[in-house]
Symmetry: C2
Subunit: 475 residues, 2 copies
Amino acid sequence: MKRTRVKELLSSSPGTTPVSAKGWIRTKRESKDLVFFEINDGSCLSAIQVVVDRSTAEGAQALAKSDLPRLQTGASVAVEGTLVESPGKNQAVELHATSIQVIGEAPSDSYPLQKKRHSFEFLREIAHLRPRTNTFGAVMRVRNRMAMAIHEYFQQLGFTWVHTPIITASDAEGAGEMFQVTTLPLEKIAKADPSRFKEGIDYSRDFFGKPSYLTVSGQLNAEIFATALDRVYTFGPTFRAENSNTSRHLAEFWMIEPEVAFCDISCNMDLAEGFLKHVLQAVLRDCAEDMAFFDARIQPGILNQLQEVVDSTFTRITYTQAIADLEAGMARGVSFDYKPSWGADLQSEHEKYLTEEVYHGPVIVTDYPKEIKAFYMKLNEDGKTVRGMDILVPRLGEIIGGSEREERLDVLEARMKELSLDPQDYWWYLDLRRFGTVPHSGFGLGFERLIQYVTGMQNIRDVIPFPRTPKNAEF
Amino acid sequence: MKRTRVKELLSSSPGTTPVSAKGWIRTKRESKDLVFFEINDGSCLSAIQVVVDRSTAEGAQALAKSDLPRLQTGASVAVEGTLVESPGKNQAVELHATSIQVIGEAPSDSYPLQKKRHSFEFLREIAHLRPRTNTFGAVMRVRNRMAMAIHEYFQQLGFTWVHTPIITASDAEGAGEMFQVTTLPLEKIAKADPSRFKEGIDYSRDFFGKPSYLTVSGQLNAEIFATALDRVYTFGPTFRAENSNTSRHLAEFWMIEPEVAFCDISCNMDLAEGFLKHVLQAVLRDCAEDMAFFDARIQPGILNQLQEVVDSTFTRITYTQAIADLEAGMARGVSFDYKPSWGADLQSEHEKYLTEEVYHGPVIVTDYPKEIKAFYMKLNEDGKTVRGMDILVPRLGEIIGGSEREERLDVLEARMKELSLDPQDYWWYLDLRRFGTVPHSGFGLGFERLIQYVTGMQNIRDVIPFPRTPKNAEF
């Protein structure tokens, strides 16, 4: 008999046609000859209730008495039966079993995931089992839907997904601390005579013939493709070797970085605002059950908050306006730990104030002082600010960062000189300005931070299958 | 005026409504006062022909004489005008310009991509510009369509995309040579007193507190999720530090690895056959122009070959049958460089013979001798063979490898003992068999090899944006 997944069973009508379900037991209870247990197969948050009445001949045949203790939380089972209208209020249908097969037991004295609630800290230690919990199942389904919504958004606009490289020998990134990638035998190097290394490590013996690292951003590579295919995006893993043990940092995380030719900062803002709304809408529409779970258990009110973002028009202000708003707030008695001042980066408390107190919704801040932004951002005519843009949202703060890129060769070279960057390290990046240069823009965001924002999960380690953090690369 | 992409313009009807196109010049020619040039924006293979007649007042205004020499191959331009039925046979419409703006020049004395054809070897040296060529534009569009077809296939079947980790500290992979990932200061280690390292490297000082590597496969991690969410797949970068300088090897490549609970090898074969057909169909249907280019310029006949695979039913034979077929061939006078013999792996020439000479189409070979397959494959009742499956296709050979996994704890432990694998290294993998174990299966394939197969591109370095190979991690 063809098996039906639980999600489909739960939305089916009662009927006499036999059905088959397979999955893992979440809970079990007995009442005289009646046995109830719920099975979940990860297709949705809910489990389907299986009922067997051992006082009937059919029931006794479906479930041998010796099998009863094997129906443990976590055990895998195959059940056949019929869908019957459920008298319970939690589900429309339940499965009256005519056959129950225990496939794999989960002995209750050793299975770590018992019915009681576990702390997220504990679940991180058994990251190989946590996908079997309600919360992580929901996170993974929402994560998947968000990932596909990201692809949908860009594909429908004619973008090409570009797989920018993970390993880079480019010295030119500078966006953060990097992991080194090597095939050199570290043990041998350590035990060798140091005089052999007077000149330093001989990288001609390393795999790539020079020091190589894990990428911190695909942006510069994406610009190559934007100046050929017009509209591209990356969606892949990136790395930071920062020793940050916080609930917001991962050493390995996924980033999304669109890059668009013939697109100025205004077009870039439209693209980013549309992007965020599209992803939120997809989740609110298609992950209703999981999102209701997050609203009830993790972050009360999150459904409304996200819907408000979808329904809003993002306010667009300059950095200079933002500073003025913050100063006006101070004049009215608002106090900040960090005094806002033109030239300094916005702090979380500032972002929170702007989105929650001043504009009551998402805010796009543009035209930052060049000193606090990257070299590749397009210089404004004032010579002081660049066409950067950050999107701030209530509750989280900055969620997207981007800019129009500097497409003028002479201006870019002058800017690199100011920052003591060696043009030779960027020869190919400069070539994009040397040959058929075009105005272009892009933005970037961390996928896991977006998932945190959408689910309300407090710790970023709980929205990625296997978090990599200082001293932790388990599983 | 809102710009329209070239792909859309080319499929539009002539009309009097002004349109705007932006892109890069591919070719230009002049004939008296008539100027013709073609612009491409990467949205499709074709360029749109722009015509301006400088003998008319409109034409003279559209294109200043001083701008004429700036219309170079590779220059970026913005053109406004109207779509007119083209007298030429290569296109239905052409763009009669009323305004031409040269955005960025591409001086012909320095721009490396002139009109003449370039070797793929040369283009690899200018990998930042090669996306602007016909071949690489086509490869990237087909690659993108294939990537999305992969997502579509699994998503429509209710699979969850799982991002398995790139950095792993697991010693348990063994599928190939690994890159080490480290934040230890190599230079300092090299110059330090070797007596400090009598005990070896102190990995407690490394980022993850132990030696860590780049993953060679996400399979074992995917199994974790299959035994919770039922149906999952990975699609992400994987790594091999093998010093193989061939047209088929990359140090960094993308892999697809589905993993399915409650799925035996027969179900696995259905899934893999359906997968391959879905991806090929999507490309044949949606990338007609690019695929016609590959058929004409790269691999004549490829369209028919791929269609034949879509229309075929894959032949399913055991390894034992395959050896018998090869031996029967030898008895009829076929000669092989490697004599086929039960217990040895199939060679390319054997795969070619089976698909092209014996079965005239794709072949799925199952039930291999356990000695030549991985420890996790399910042991058959004969105790000699395992439920591995390889899919072989004409022209390429093996394109997919997979198996039903060993879900019996005792059998898996015994198998690991035979192979001297330490169960402690696999504690979490064994837990999946200890708690609620289920029959499950999966397969894996390299994305770039699949792209080679679909496009006919001979060198794998030419189907990935930036190839990583021994001594090469440029751009």
